[in-house]
């Protein structure tokens, strides 16, 4: 049997695969898209490591900055390990061939990102994630790592709380297939897709792995914490990297007045912008003073995206922006070994997981670090903790998923267009479960979401072709988002305080007595359960 099944082929999945291969494990990477199409390609700004190549820096300073930004919701040991491993992870990527930019002294170049006390983010222009991802991919090809594309995760195979692999929809053939393995690593990405049309995330950020864990009886945590990036293009929600502010860009309102220190943590800056918008102001990013030469050298992608999507030239004009959903801090609850809470032989890494390194607010540059560092770690470690597995398992997950998919082709009447509902829901999540939250609005949205869930039998797929049915994939993703959305709203309702990215106007302060705790959610006897788990550091 296969040693390790990795679900998700972004930076976390590929890092895990390379590391598993180095440890002589047999490994298979399965993803719903092509590996180089993953969300990692969109990460622009950089990857943090306290190298001190440009300004003096220490690992302790990196730890302190990360903990500060996490607002007490992190695991200090995890943060410490992550920051200590950062220089080693950069070194590992260097060996693989990642073309990081260099300083005049031919060292890896580092730039300033928000919330960092030093120039700490290693970068490759504003294509850092893209170049890391493609280099990882090249190395997976070199190592002969088997990768299956266009396999959509349906469910985990569970026997007595132990994960034995997973069931997939082969999108190309339309067949439902089973892949078994001793260990399963989920690296399936976040749930920014909940905020459809109001997120920088790709179409595929639909939390498929998170929803699968929830259905399998595993736990999710801190799902109310969704980071809003201060600067996305106003029309298209396309990300303009934090490096634009790191390099000296200003945020201004309609009167061209600055209203916030641009390098404060993302949650603070996003709220300041939201406040301006509520006051009726428009908000712009101003990078004109940096000059054309510098802009084209340091952020060619930003310049290009502004021209394409907003029809403006940022060299000479203000860039209209809005804050949008950008990163899911919450996710699959894991312990310090990245094992999924409530399930055996199952691990989660990257944005789909809550490894408690970001807490209530992630620092720019720490997510690329997380996927590479923890991806490497889990790929190498998970095989060492082999438990005896019942090989004659009789799970009927395959049959049940086959039946479900077949049913979608036959029974569903398609009376309601789920695409329209998804668009409406995206806007409502942005308005009512977004930057500033209110219990009445959250409750109303939760009721609405439950009505939509109950009405799912009146939706379904209009496309009845078996092969290459992207309508089917869209519908399955929509259902995952509905399941996750309910947890996000529930979790936001429970937390009557403001902490990091979670802000309630009625409770504007942190309440450590009640809420210095992780919110944990799981399904037991078909009912969503929750509890708060106090943070002890």
């Amino acid at each position: 049997m296969l040693d390790i099944l990795i679900i998700g082929s972004g930076g976390a999945g590929l890092s895990a695969a390379l590391s598993a291969k180095q440890n002589n494990s047999t490994v298979l990477v399965v993803g719903k898209s092509y590996p180089t199409a993953s969300q990692t390609s969109m990460a622009q700004g950089g990857m943090n490591a306290a190298l001190g190549n440009v300004t003096p820096d220490t690992i302790q300073a990196h730890i302190d900055d990360t903990i500060k930004s996490a607002h007490s919701l992190c695991n200090v040991t995890m943060v410490k390990n992550l920051c200590e491993d950062a220089p080693k992870s950069i070194e590992w990527l260097e060996k693989l061939g990642v073309p990081f930019d260099r300083t005049e002294k031919s060292q890896v170049a580092q730039r300033q990102l928000g919330g960092a006390s030093s120039k700490r983010a290693c970068y490759a222009q504003d294509y850092t994630g893209l170049k890391i991802l493609h280099t990882l991919y090249d190395n997976c090809l070199k190592e002969g790592i088997e990768m299956k594309e266009e396999y959509f995760l349906l469910n985990l195979i569970i026997e007595e709380k132990s994960v034995l692999g997973a069931i997939f929809l082969n999108v190309v053939t339309g067949e439902v297939e089973e892949i078994r393995a001793n260990k399963t690593i989920l690296a399936t990405g976040g749930y920014g897709g909940l905020y459809k049309n109001f997120t920088t995330n790709s179409e595929g950020a639909t939390g498929d792995g998170i929803a699968a864990v929830l259905r399998a009886g595993g736990s999710l945590s801190d799902m109310e914490f969704v980071q809003f990036h201060p600067t996305a293009l106003k029309g298209s929600a396309t990300l303009i990297s934090e490096s634009a502010r790191g390099e000296g860009g200003y945020l201004v309102n309609s009167k061209e007045e600055r209203f916030v220190d641009e390098l404060l943590p993302r949650d603070v800056v996003a709220r300041a912008i939201a406040e301006q918008i509520v006051k009726g102001e428009e908000v712009f990013l101003d990078i004109r003073h940096l000059g054309e030469e510098k802009l084209l050298k340091l952020m060619p992608q930003e310049v290009h995206l502004c021209r394409l999507h907003e029809g403006i030239d940022p060299v000479h004009e203000l860039i209209p922006i809005k804050p949008v959903a950008h990163y899911s801090m919450g996710g699959i609850d894991v312990n310090e070994n990245l094992e999924v809470t409530g399930l055996k032989n199952c691990y989660a890494v990257g944005e789909c997981s809550n490894a408690k390194v970001h807490g209530a607010n992630r620092l720019g540059g720490n997510s690329l670090l997380e996927i590479v560092s923890l991806g490497r770690r889990v790929g190498g470690d998970c095989h060492r903790t082999n438990e005896n597995i019942e090989t004659n398992a009789n799970s009927n997950q395959l049959e049940s998923d086959q039946e479900y998919i077949e049913g979608l082709f036959e029974e569903y009447p398609w009376e309601r267009n789920f695409y329209q509902i998804q668009d409406e829901l995206g806007e409502k999540f942005y308005k009512y479960a977004g930057i500033v939250r209110d219990n009445t609005e959250l409750n109303n949205l939760l009721n609405e979401l439950r009505v939509i869930k109950a009405d799912i039998d009146n939706m379904g797929i209009g496309d009845k072709e078996k092969e290459n049915n992207t309508n089917l994939v869209d519908f399955l993703q929509f259902q995952n988002l509905l399941e996750i959305g309910e947890v996000v709203l529930d979790a936001a309702l429970v937390r009557d305080e403001s902490r990091g990215a979670h802000f309630k106007s009625a409770f504007p302060n942190e309440d450590d007595k009640l809420y210095k705790a992780h919110s944990l959610f799981w399904i037991e006897e078909n009912v969503l359960q929750n509890k708060l788990v106090k943070v002890v550091n």
């Binding site: 898209s33 092509y34 180089t36 199409a37 993953s38 969300q39 390609s41 969109m42 260097e94 060996k95 693989l96 061939g97 073309p99 990081f100 930019d101 260099r102 300083t103 005049e104 031919s106 170049a109 490759a124 222009q125 294509y127 893209l130 170049k131 493609h134 090249d138 190395n139 090809l141 070199k142 594309e149 190309v172 790709s202 179409e203 595929g204 298209s236 396309t238 990300l239 992608q301 290009h304 995206l305 394409l308 999507h309 267009n417 695409y419 329209q420 668009d423 797929i461 209009g462 496309d463 072709e465 092969e467 290459n468 049915n469 992207t470 309508n471």
Partner: protein
């Protein structure tokens, strides 16, 4: 706005209620509101994931980065197996990366300067959208041609100071590789990232000659004088 999509079995005409729109936005509008069966690939909406390349009026574009024009004809990429409508199988084409062995063959310690990074900065911007491959006329006559993006990627590693065995890559791109290119420049013209595979292939030819390789086409020419 009206435009046409080549859906293999038929050429279908669609109307979308936008005055100005990216092609991708128009495709989604159709799929979500008019015809759920319209099939295409996309992901990031911002030109970095390489998923949504198609041909418009015969020229390769990223659907997310192309502004739709009245009367446009949208077709799937060429030299790819069309799976359905605009969705193609990129699996086989990806095999060219294995053939060209575009990775560090033997990673060595090296000091890399700003200038050396700049040398292959563009090449490593590649998003693997396959536009260049689709535009390449050599594939019409030689389906085994490694093609532009895999050669550009090979060049990116040969030019990396960390590469300890440049010759291994050069050896692997001789057959159906650098000498099969006609230097027509179609690839350079369609690359959404501004990469110049034609120049990269020229550079690879130069490196290959340092390892004693010569243009086999040149050897085969006799210019009417009975050969050299």
């Amino acid at each position: 706005m009206n435009f046409k999509i080549n859906r293999q079995e038929s050429l279908e005409s669609f109307d979308v209620p936008f005055e100005s729109s990216t092609l991708l936005k128009a495709l989604y509008h159709i799929k979500n509101n008019q015809d759920n069966t319209l099939t295409f690939s996309s992901n990031c909406r911002s030109g970095v994931c390489g998923t949504c390349a198609v041909r418009v009026n015969g020229k390769e574009v990223l659907a997310c980065a192309y502004t739709l024009q009245e009367g446009d004809l949208v077709e799937p990429l060429a030299y790819h197996e069309v799976q359905r409508d605009l969705k193609v199988n990129k699996q086989k084409v990806r095999e060219t990366l294995r053939t060209s062995t575009a990775w560090l063959q033997s990673s060595q310690e090296a000091t890399i300067s700003e200038q050396q990074v700049a040398l292959t900065e563009k090449q490593s911007d590649c998003i693997l959208c396959d536009s260049c491959y689709s535009s390449c006329p050599v594939l019409e006559v030689n389906p085994s041609f490694i093609g532009p993006f895999a050669l550009t990627r090979a060049y990116r590693y040969t030019a990396d100071p960390r590469e300890g065995d440049i010759q291994a890559i050069i050896d692997n791109i001789q057959t159906n590789g650098i000498w099969d290119c006609t230097l027509c420049g179609n690839c350079t013209e369609v690359c959404p990232q501004g990469i110049d595979p034609k120049m990269d292939i020229t550079m690879l030819r130069g490196t290959a000659s340092q390892f004693g390789y010569t243009d086999p086409n040149f050897q085969a020419m006799d210019f009417g004088f009975g050969g050299f």
